[in-house]
């Protein structure tokens, strides 16, 4: 197994910091899983190109959640020395994938409304701050 360093983007760090503030248990799970990922003990599933999310085929997703409910995704890509983490967020309405696509400048124009809808979804509102 190859040991890599973690290289979270600033936006991904902000994602995790938000989790620390609002769901500390889940945040600890995310960091733990990132450690497993960096050590090669788990791997994610390759993403693909889609009309909704654009081309994320160079990235992978990994499920994470609590109480057996994989509510969140870690989206990352692998470099020879690092795990570049692009986002950690809710799968609800495809939010995390839409966020990654926008952060990478790959979001199809027609998906912008889907991104806004996902950011304002009732489920996110119920959780308080849009996690």
């Amino acid at each position: 197994m190859t040991q890599r360093k973690l290289d979270p983007s600033a936006a991904a760090r902000a994602d995790i910091e938000r989790l620390v503030r609002h769901d500390r248990q889940l945040a600890k799970r995310v960091v733990h899983v990132l450690g497993l990922l960096a050590s090669g003990k788990v791997t994610g599933k390759a993403l693909a190109e889609s009309a909704k999310y654009g081309d994320l085929s160079d990235h992978y997703k990994l499920y994470v959640g609590l109480a057996g409910r994989p509510t969140h995704r870690i989206v990352y890509r692998v470099t020879p020395a690092t795990i570049r983490v692009e986002a950690v967020g809710s799968r609800d309405l495809g939010l995390v994938y839409l966020e990654v696509s926008q952060r990478l400048g790959r979001l199809p124009a027609e998906s912008l409304s889907a991104l806004n809808d996902a950011r304002r979804s009732p489920k996110r509102k119920r959780r308080g701050l849009g996690l």
């Binding site: 902000a14 600890k28 497993l36 609590l66 109480a67 994989p70």
Partner: protein, 122 residues
């Protein structure tokens, strides 16, 4: 957004609190200002306004983070322990990562049909 400039006295706010809250239901009144001696001291706002403000704050945080990526650009590879501390976990929490769970399990074909995942009980 309509902001009612009138400053309600504390007594007016107290006596009319039910009506003030009900006024938010019309969707037009968003904020009421309250203060002793008609000096603005506090604000009563609809939950929708608060949610919108929080959403805007989150969007700004994301924007700042993305801009930071663009400006700085450089990677900052780190260990999981360094990441844990960087995002606000305590040293004790970082040291105990993974100890709150019995085991990890592979989650198959869940939600969006993917084959691999990691989850466990709280």
């Amino acid at each position: 957004m309509e902001i009612v400039p009138e400053v309600l006295s504390i007594r007016e706010a107290r006596d009319g609190l039910s009506r003030l809250v009900a006024d938010f239901n019309d969707g037009e009144t968003k904020v009421r200002v309250i203060g002793a001696h008609r000096r603005p001291q506090a604000v009563l706002m609809s939950a929708d306004v608060l949610q919108g403000l929080l959403q805007s704050l989150e969007d700004l945080e994301d924007l700042v983070a993305v801009m930071g990526d663009r400006d700085g650009g450089e990677s900052m590879p780190m260990s999981v322990e360094e990441l844990g501390l960087a995002v606000g976990l305590s040293a004790d929490e970082v040291g105990a990562l993974g100890q709150d769970t019995e085991s990890f399990e592979v989650v198959g074909n869940c939600l969006d049909g993917a084959e691999l995942g990691v989850a466990s009980s709280r």
